[in-house]
Symmetry: C2
Subunit: 664 residues, 2 copies
């Protein structure tokens, strides 16, 4: 929304993201059919009006390009698109009306003075707001209904004869299309795709198949590492893969004496890069949908890798949709709440008040939607058809649930923070916060168990990890209670283990927060290291150490149902940056921030992480720790003392013996 001097495509704010989100959520494919998202999807507006006043000192001309039909109106007189329009000196009221029944209506206004830079308003004929735009669409030859990918040609790493056909291994995950360079056969071929060789070789059950392909075929965009072409020989066929991506700048680096951890880092970066494009996707083979829970974790990873603010806002706007809420995000109540919480995190990360102003009304309507399903105690409950997800884990779901209440409490907190920034009255949320906090502790905190119970209505006093993890993450428990949760829940083997990588993310986060970085270091080496040992080039949706052979590819009852490149698999990036490097903002947009490294597990490390408007480099060698921030505002916390970090100065610290550490 920043004002710039250059023209760009403009649209009704949020509409680009909503439209592209629709296209994204309709791109899922499975075994010869398409699988559009199974929830109510919004679309962009179909007619919009752009407006701006210019007070001209001299006559000037401009041309309006539009995606759609309509006209330009200058001081009440109408003109067609694509024609030069002369504007006389003095005050000029310019309006551009665009309708598009097939997609996003957008305008690009070209001129010396009159042009579509910042300052235009957009109206849906009900609300008038600052027009939306994107740094990805600044060229008048573009159409914001299309996505312009960069491409990279990928050659086969190995080509082998097997099962009477040809197996091509590209040696890496590709998300793109194919270029059939050679086809010395007199009939079309079938191309079977696989994230694994097992999948590609399974002609019947592989996820994607291009049938009747010939040299002119351009298959749709798919994710794969392997291709298998039955009934061919390596001499007959040559196929290049064309990887498609939206470039995102990796602003972090990581190099340590621990080779396994370095590989985990690199594979995490590869995984996350593949799953990040116009939006944060869950995975590239399956589902390619924008899930609010998955995206929530991606926002955190992004903060320590790309620090790309736009992909966050695009994803949040796409998820939220139009003003009117018909259903919870992805049908899941907790995903709606996580969306609200994510906005506060985005604000802490970026300090972007403009976006907060744009999104706050939609946060408010989301809260209204949530509040409509709270009871007299302030507890949120599920309605018919609502999916109270939390996790796939078994949980006592009778009546209202502790985990949902803790999320809601955090959402109130987000509303208070964000509302205050944009100057809105947040007293309603403060009152609700107090009521909910009180009742949460009264009804769900079990002093005897020293933990939150799932449900108080059932009388079972069943404890799972989830609510307790959220309470730690969102700082809703004091030190004493946090310690109890650590001992009674997180380190208690009798409490059912977290089995999904989705919730493992939150669990590691909480463990680190409670000072268990050593333990988490081991978990990373074991769990992610386990995938590395299995030749993973990207991290998986789920890893179960006991699974062997092709069983590892099975999920949701489908032999190749598991996604082998899944965004949440990249969580080590976040954990390493947030807790091991120990970097976090202490005021919005890293105006102030703290650096509190916990690097005992590494003998030597050299890593850099982005922050808003800068980066921080941390080097550890033998008993010396060197820290340098390119931005003012940092405080180094080490060994109980604070050191203010001036910009671009290297600070070297001698490490006491117990912090020198020992690489594994």
């Amino acid at each position: 929304m920043e004002k710039t001097e250059n023209a760009r495509w403009i649209w009704y704010p949020g509409d680009f993201e909503i439209r592209q989100g629709l296209l994204q959520n309709f791109s899922r494919e499975e075994r010869s059919y398409d699988w559009p998202a199974y929830w109510n999807m919004d679309d962009c507006h179909k007619n919009v009006k752009f407006k701006r006043y210019y007070t001209l000192e001299k006559a000037t001309s401009f041309v309006v390009h539009a995606i759609g039909i309509g006209y330009v109106e200058v001081n009440g007189e109408k003109f067609p698109f694509g024609k030069k329009i002369l504007c006389e000196p003095g005050k000029n009221k310019i309006r551009v009306f665009v309708g598009n029944t097939a997609g996003l209506p957008a305008a690009y206004i070209e001129g010396e003075i009159i042009k579509s830079d910042g300052g235009w308003s957009a109206s849906n004929f009900v609300e008038e707001l600052p027009a939306g735009s994107s740094t990805l669409y600044t060229d008048k030859e573009q159409d914001p209904n299309n996505v312009y990918f960069n491409t990279e040609r990928v050659q086969a790493a190995t080509v082998s004869s097997i099962n009477g056909g040809v197996l091509i291994d590209y040696g890496r995950a590709v998300f793109g299309t194919l270029d059939i360079k050679k086809l010395a056969l007199d009939k079309p071929i079938t191309i079977c795709y696989g994230e694994s060789d097992a999948e590609a070789l399974d002609i019947d059950m592989c996820y994607y198949k291009e049938e009747n392909a010939d040299a002119n075929s351009t298959p749709r965009k798919r994710a794969f590492r392997y291709l298998f072409i039955p009934e061919t020989t390596p001499e007959q066929v040559e196929i290049e893969a064309i990887h498609e991506f939206i470039p995102l700048k990796n602003q972090a680096s990581f190099d340590s004496d621990n080779e396994l951890m370095n590989r985990i880092w690199n594979i995490s970066v590869e995984t996350f890069t593949l799953c990040s494009g116009m939006f944060f996707l869950d995975g590239i083979k399956r589902d390619r949908w924008i899930w609010s829970g998955d995206a929530y974790q991606s926002y955190f990873i992004n903060q320590y890798l790309f620090f790309d603010e736009d992909i966050n806002t695009r994803t949040m706007l796409a998820l939220r949709g139009q003003n009117e809420i018909k259903q919870h995000m992805n049908t899941i109540v907790d995903y709606s709440i996580l969306w609200v919480i994510a906005v506060e995190n985005y604000y802490m990360m970026t300090g972007n008040k403009e976006f907060l102003k744009q999104i706050y009304p939609k946060m408010k309507s989301m809260m209204d939607y949530l509040l409509a399903q709270t009871n007299e105690l302030g507890f949120i409950y599920g309605r018919e058809k609502d999916w109270i997800f939390i996790d796939w884990s078994e949980m006592d779901k009778e009546g209202t649930l502790a985990a949902e209440q803790i999320l809601l409490l955090k959402a109130y907190n987000a509303m208070i923070v964000c509302g205050s920034v944009v100057g809105e009255d947040t007293s309603e949320y403060s009152a609700k916060y107090k009521q909910l906090e009180r009742n949460l502790m009264t009804y769900f905190w079990d002093e005897e168990k020293g933990a939150f119970i799932d449900s108080y209505e059932s009388g079972k006093r069943h404890v799972t990890r989830h609510a307790n993890i959220f309470a730690v993450l969102f700082d809703f428990v004091d030190k004493l209670k946090a310690e109890k949760i650590l001992q009674n829940v997180l380190l208690n083997e009798e409490i059912t283990q977290i089995t999904t990588p989705y919730f493992k993310f939150f669990e590691q986060d909480a463990l680190c927060k409670l000072g268990q970085t050593d333990r988490v270091f081991n978990i990373i080496c074991d769990y992610w290291g386990g995938m590395v040992q299995q030749d993973a080039v990207t991290f998986w949706e789920e890893y179960i150490p006991d699974e062997k052979g092709n069983a590892v590819y099975e999920m949701y009852g489908d032999p190749f149902g598991k996604s082998l490149c899944h965004a949440w698999g990249a969580s080590p990036i976040y954990l390493l940056g947030r807790y091991f490097a120990g970097i976090r903002p202490t005021s919005p947009g890293y105006q102030t921030f703290s650096v509190e490294p916990k690097l005992e597990c590494f003998s030597a490390i050299d890593c850099t992480f982005p922050i808003k408007g800068g980066s921080i480099r941390i080097k550890k060698e033998a008993n010396t720790l060197v820290v340098c921030s390119t931005k003012e505002g940092g405080t180094m916390l080490l060994n109980g003392t604070d050191v203010v970090l001036k910009a671009n100065m290297e600070y070297a610290f001698d490490l006491p013996k117990e912090l020198v550490g020992n690489s594994y």
Copy 2:
């Protein structure tokens, strides 16, 4: 929604009409630019789910065709579209998921037993309702995103050389495209269109122009009677017009001894037929938009001409849009209210409870939207950006307005009637009705003036015709007050005359209702007869007797702004059927109906009008009136006596001398 044995295209109910309505309202064109509607337009859902259970006695197969992407699910197993699917005996749950980012998602299911006839539900993932369909889309080769027009080739009636070019007169209004049969020129031509010769000949200001046309050009659909091709001679160019239309069956006939009235009838039929297609349009040259006020009057005309129930429901569904209301219909408060009232009229006309069930929730949400802008007296007021239209006429618009209150009162009545039919609790509306009725009479009825005043807040006690006309039409005044309104307002020359044909419709309606058919007969002969004298082939948007020459084509400050084929111009059809033939339903769907002819103005007449499931023919010759209804349930009211009409029996009545009449 009727269950039939034949398959047809199915969609989420209302979506077809909303999508086609969007396309319709974006089809306006003016002087080389498009003019999409300037209000917030809804679009159809982009993903839907169809569902049905079949208990099969034997195995059967089916194929799903879809407009969009997706899959078929049979008992949880997924299949692609377009492939034969075998279903085993026993209970089968079949779901069809269709997504379409470019338009209406729809499905056509082909099979002996399993097929898309009645009985499928459609879900937008929030609500599940009986699937929508249309008798216009029963062929699997169709796409309900397209409109399939019948065409009729129209030859030039006259071709003449004028102004250095060729003027073609087709002798009738055409709404369609062109076929350039001959073009003996070495350069492309410009084709200027006109509803009048003056417009076509005005190269600069004609509404439509096809520039750079050659023999292969197929211009877009436009309305015209004349074409002018500058810089050509009749030998060089030959153009056929191709009229496009959706066939509607004229079920009425009219023949009288009054030749002028016969011509007025025929031109009315031509006018209304041209303005009726997928929806009721205001006019064919301009705006081609679906206006709720214009449509309201078309519903009444339709009842006495086509008796086409589907065009009514298509128009009402398109106007209403999706559940969420963001704005008044066409931005006009009274147009929203008229929409509610129209549903009741539709129910009286058709007795269609199925449609009432479908539409009632949308009536209710419309009422909620209206109720949110009523004050403590129950009076509705305009909000910022609301357009309180009523009419272009001058009116005291300070504070709340009488005319709007009377419309709202009628809307409560419609809710009570329709709600009761579908078994909903309407006590809220009954209470509001009572309050509003009481306050309307207290605040707006001026006993001294014997009329409703526009506004009571201004203290001016200004009287216009509008509120008084509505009060008569909706039976909100007793006989005494009605007589006062007739004398003090309708027949009072000092009360500002109605100047718009839109409101003239309501005024004639009220005058007839108050027994003034003689007067209305003269008005028809004068006003419509005036247009006939000016060589009108269709009736105009407005006729001002004093206007001469090309000034008649001017409107809204545009020299050719007036639409010369405008639906409301066809109101004589309604007036003749409703009051002169005197036919009206007295219970829903003409289960009972009355025939009360007022034919004194005709010496001889032979006319037929449709009713639900039948028709009524009335013949008058000399002093005999013969009436025959093809349907049971009628009562003839003549000269103060009632006669029950048995089906298909001719009843002859001797007319007393004063009813024999005298043709003009």
